[in-house]
């Protein structure tokens, strides 16, 4: 299990780097996908198989596809970036780091140099870097302050009694034989939690998703004159800065 966690964590960190360093949103999306899928591995390592599956289904499946769609609708460029990235090679890093900086600096701002072999990377934003590093330091410090009881995960009960809803003192064989005994983190255990513990919250959240669905439709639809249906007005390019 530890092995699964460390591998997943490593992959997640790598994906995260891909996400925050790459200039082009498609590559960043790829990084996000990697990080989220790796997180599913982390959940698995934490004895939460249902959550892991849900993670892959919702994030990696639905959300990533939605992002991809919207990226197709919109212009991926911002003022800061042009062109498509090339692979990071040792040569490129070397060039940027040692031989070309003077030449790159000469170029006007906002117009990335064609001589910059690392132009596919987003420029570093020092302000954002400082703030997020401070946050990381704070969070780390806070984690360090956690009481000793957070030093280890402890042992899970073999199974939960599905009637009493309490941990049961049974052997693994008995638990597997009797459907009344539930193992931690399984689909059945989570669904019992949802429908016996928090049914109202579940219903409310379904209502929220429904409202979000309607709202998204309303916001994203194009206003068509004469239909009487609400929607967003399509503004011509000439009035862009009006």
């Amino acid at each position: 299990m530890d092995f699964l966690f460390f591998i997943s964590a490593l992959v997640a960190v790598a994906g995260t780097f891909l996400l925050i360093t790459h200039r082009h949103p498609i590559y960043a999306l790829l990084g996000l996908l990697v990080a989220l899928t790796a997180s599913a591995g982390v959940f698995l390592a934490l004895d939460a198989p249902f959550i892991a599956v849900a993670q892959i289904l919702i994030y990696a499946g639905a959300l990533a596809v939605m992002f991809l769609f919207v990226l197709m609708f919109t212009d991926t460029r911002t003022d800061e970036d042009t062109g498509l990235p090339k692979a990071v090679t040792a040569r490129a890093v070397f060039d940027v780091a040692l031989t070309r900086p003077a030449r790159i600096k000469k170029k006007k701002e906002g117009e990335p140099s064609k001589y910059n072999p690392l132009r596919f990377l987003a420029p570093v934003n020092p302000m954002a870097l400082v703030i997020s590093l401070c946050l990381l330091v704070c969070a780390t410090f806070a984690i360090g302050q956690l009481p000793d009881s957070f030093g280890a995960f402890g042992t899970l009960p073999t199974a939960y009694d599905g009637t009493l809803m309490n941990p049961a003192t049974v052997t693994a064989q008995e638990a597997a034989a009797n459907p009344n005994y539930l193992e931690y983190g399984t689909t059945e255990a989570v669904s019992r939690t949802i429908f016996e513990g928090f049914p109202l919250a579940f219903e409310v959240v379904s209502l929220l998703i429904f409202a979000a669905l309607l709202g998204a439709v309303l916001l994203a639809r194009r206003h068509l004159a004469g239909t009487g249906m609400p929607g967003t007005q399509d503004v011509g390019k000439e009035s862009e800065h009006a």
């Binding site: 954002a128 703030i131 997020s132 401070c134 946050l135 704070c138 969070a139 410090f141 806070a142 302050q145």
Partner: protein, 683 residues
């Protein structure tokens, strides 16, 4: 029905008296414009008539057994100062209630006819109802504070009704003048109130903490005569404003700009007598303030003569009556100053009838003439352009004649008894002050008789001197207007018989009715005081009474006849013109005394130069320095510029870029989490 008026209900019924006119005001104010003049006036009149009926029941059945008080709610309660909103109906208030609602009813009914052609009738009746409500609050409130509430209320209604036809700027200015003059008086009144509260610790009349009880149980409070004098003088300044005495009388003649029934109700019968009511109410303090009483008497006497003499030469029929009112109010204050409060109130009572009658009669004349001359035409009020109206308007003529006789003080008419009683009080006093007052009073009485006769002679007798067309169309007023005249005329004859002097048999129900009002003052009257608070049957003074009565009767009758003969004969009028005016109103040719009177002793001009001018200059300076420079430039624009400058700085922070807001947000999160960690670790 009779259960309603049972004794258990008297404390509730008393509220109906002021609240009925208030309901009338609300109805007229809210829906009056949807009603026609009959509906609007009907509602207004009905509310006051009902109020009158309730007043009669209360005053007739319950007030003689003792004052009625009824607490509404605790109105002000600040530290040591608390005022309950409480009604108080004793014999004095009861009398005033009857005068206000009774004459008020007649005038409301009269107004239906008078205002029938005016578009603003709903507004008019609303104001009139509001006035009756305020006036009732003035006389029925149980403290000087409630009195002051009514005092301001009637002032407001007076202002609104003087400026009723506000489209004519001169009327609006007249209203403003009344308001300002009253405000000066109110200032004095409030100071007086503060002094009384400071000294006695109360402003309420009745009850355990009331003034009467305080004075009865702590007589030593009355030894501080300096303070009492100041307090009474200050209260009298307030009375000067409201009751039009020198030096604040100037607003009342101008107040004739309002509709004539208003002049009858507010500026003759009721509101202007509020000052006398207030002095009579505070009698237990006034009797201990000798200096203040002397001032009251002298001011009253001087006003009586001063205003009466101006009335001699006025051409405007309403102006004559206005100055006559000022003069008669002077007589009332003479009586107050001489300590004869019951006689002052008696003169208020009789004056209310005959002066309301005279105003309503003049209103009838004006109403008739305005038909052909057009509304607001000054000719409709100019006596020089009238004459011979007896033929056209007999009822108006005869009722007004009765009113004039009463005003002049012809024996057996109401004014004779009250005025004679005042003069006798001065005559009988026997010291220098008494003789001075008596002299002023007699001179005032001569003027009164003269202008009463002149008014009748010029208006109703002799030859018509104005526009022929107008005379041809002049006609008697409708019955709703003449009926109140007849009723008032009956009272103008009969009201006087309620206080018959000792010489004629000493029949004094009026004085006996009011006697309990002065019991406190009477009981604590200082040794050797000149004041006679109740009507005494003094057998030794019968001769003096006969002498005084003879003098005043002779003066009144003689002067009245003399003036009447002059002014009813066209030939004699020409002689007067030659003698005094010497030309057609050209001021250069007039005799000096005539010019002086015609210009009302130049009082308005003196005030203009001495008071208004400096105030105006000071206002201009203040306007430039305080308003324009300090407030407008420094405060208003300055604060605006300060905000603009500082927001210019703050505006730069608002770049509109989402990431900048995010920076701030995230930095805030970092800062707070760091702060919490540090705090948590320090514990």
């Amino acid at each position: 029905m009779f259960d309603l008026f049972s004794a258990q209900n008297k404390e509730w019924l008393i509220w109906a008296v002021p609240l009925l006119p208030l309901v009338g005001f609300l109805v007229n104010g809210a829906f009056g414009r949807r009603l026609n003049v009959m509906g609007s006036g009907g509602v207004a009149s009905a509310s006051v008539v009902l109020s009158f009926v309730v007043s009669i029941v209360l005053v007739g059945m319950y007030v003689p057994d003792g004052a009625i008080t009824s607490i509404g709610y605790s109105w002000l309660n600040t530290g040591g100062f608390s005022v309950d909103f409480r009604l108080y109906a004793d014999r004095l208030s009861g009398l005033y209630m009857l005068i206000i609602t009774g004459i008020g009813s007649l005038i409301h009914i009269y107004s239906i006819g008078y205002m029938s052609h005016d578009e603003g009738y709903a507004r008019y009746f609303a104001y009139l109802n509001l006035f009756v409500f305020s006036m009732l609050m003035l006389v029925m409130g149980d403290s000087l504070v409630t009195l002051f509430l009514g005092w301001e209320g009637v002032g407001l209604c007076s202002y609104l009704l003087i400026g009723f036809w506000f489209k004519d700027k001169k009327n609006a200015i007249a209203g403003k003048k009344a308001f300002v003059a009253n405000r000066i008086g109110d200032f004095g009144f409030m100071i007086g109130m503060f002094l009384i509260f400071w000294h006695f610790g109360s402003l309420t009349y009745s009850g355990d903490a009331g003034l009467i009880q305080t004075i009865s149980s702590n007589p030593e409070l009355l030894h501080d005569t300096t303070l009492l004098n100041w307090a009474c003088v200050c209260l009298f300044i307030g009375a000067c404003g409201k009751s039009a005495q020198i030096p604040l009388y100037v607003w009342l003649p101008d107040a004739m700009a309002g509709p004539t029934p208003v002049s009858a109700l507010i500026h003759a019968a009721t509101m202007v007598t509020a000052g006398i009511y207030m002095c009579a109410r505070m009698n237990f303090i006034f009797v201990h303030a000798d200096v203040a009483m002397t001032i009251v008497a002298v001011i009253g006497g001087v006003t009586a003569l001063f205003a009466g003499s101006i009335g001699l030469v006025q051409r405007d029929i309403k102006k004559v009556l206005a100055y006559s009112t000022v003069s008669q109010l002077g007589f009332m204050f003479m009586a107050v100053g001489l300590g004869a409060f019951h006689i002052a109130v008696f003169h208020v009572f009789t004056h209310a009838f005959f002066k309301a009658l005279l105003f309503l009669g003049s209103g009838s004349v004006i109403h008739s003439l305005e038909h052909s001359l057009g509304h607001g035409n000054p000719d409709s009020q100019d006596m020089w352009k009238m004459g011979g109206l007896k033929e056209k308007m007999p009822i108006t003529c005869y009722t007004m004649f009765i009113g004039s006789l009463a005003l002049a003080g012809i024996p057996l008419f109401a004014g004779f008894f009250s005025k004679d009683a005042i003069l006798y009080t001065a005559f009988h006093r026997g010291d220098t002050l008494g003789w001075i007052i008596y002299g002023l009073g007699v001179a005032g009485a001569i003027c009164t008789a003269f202008y009463s006769a002149r008014l009748m002679g010029l208006t109703f007798f002799g030859k018509w001197r104005g526009d022929e067309h107008a005379y041809a169309h002049a006609d008697e007023s409708p019955r709703s207007m003449t009926a109140p005249l007849v009723i008032l005329a009956i009272f103008a004859v009969g009201a006087g018989f309620l206080l018959i002097p000792a010489a004629w048999g000493h029949f004094t129900p009026f004085a006996d009715w009011l006697a309990p009002t002065w019991t406190t003052a009477q009981a604590m009257l200082p040794e050797g005081s000149h004041f006679k608070l109740v009507a005494e049957h003094d057998a030794a003074a019968i001769t003096a009474e006969w002498i005084n009565m003879g003098i005043s009767a002779a003066i009144a009758t003689g002067v009245f006849l003399f003036a009447f003969v002059i002014y009813k004969n066209p030939a004699n009028i020409e002689k007067v013109k030659k003698l005094a005016v010497r030309g057609e109103g050209d001021s250069a040719t007039m005799t000096p005394w005539f010019r002086l009177l015609l210009n009302k002793y130049y009082v308005d001009e003196i005030y203009e130069k001495a008071v208004v001018g400096p105030v105006r200059i000071a206002s201009d300076v203040l306007f430039v320095v305080i308003d324009v420079i300090v407030i407008d430039l420094l405060f208003v624009n300055g604060s605006g510029m300060l905000v603009k400058a500082s927001s210019d700085l703050g505006r730069r922070m608002q770049t509109g870029f989402v990431r900048h807001y995010l920076y701030a947000f995230a930095a805030g999160v970092v800062f707070l989490s760091a702060l919490f960690l540090i705090i948590a670790n320090q514990r």
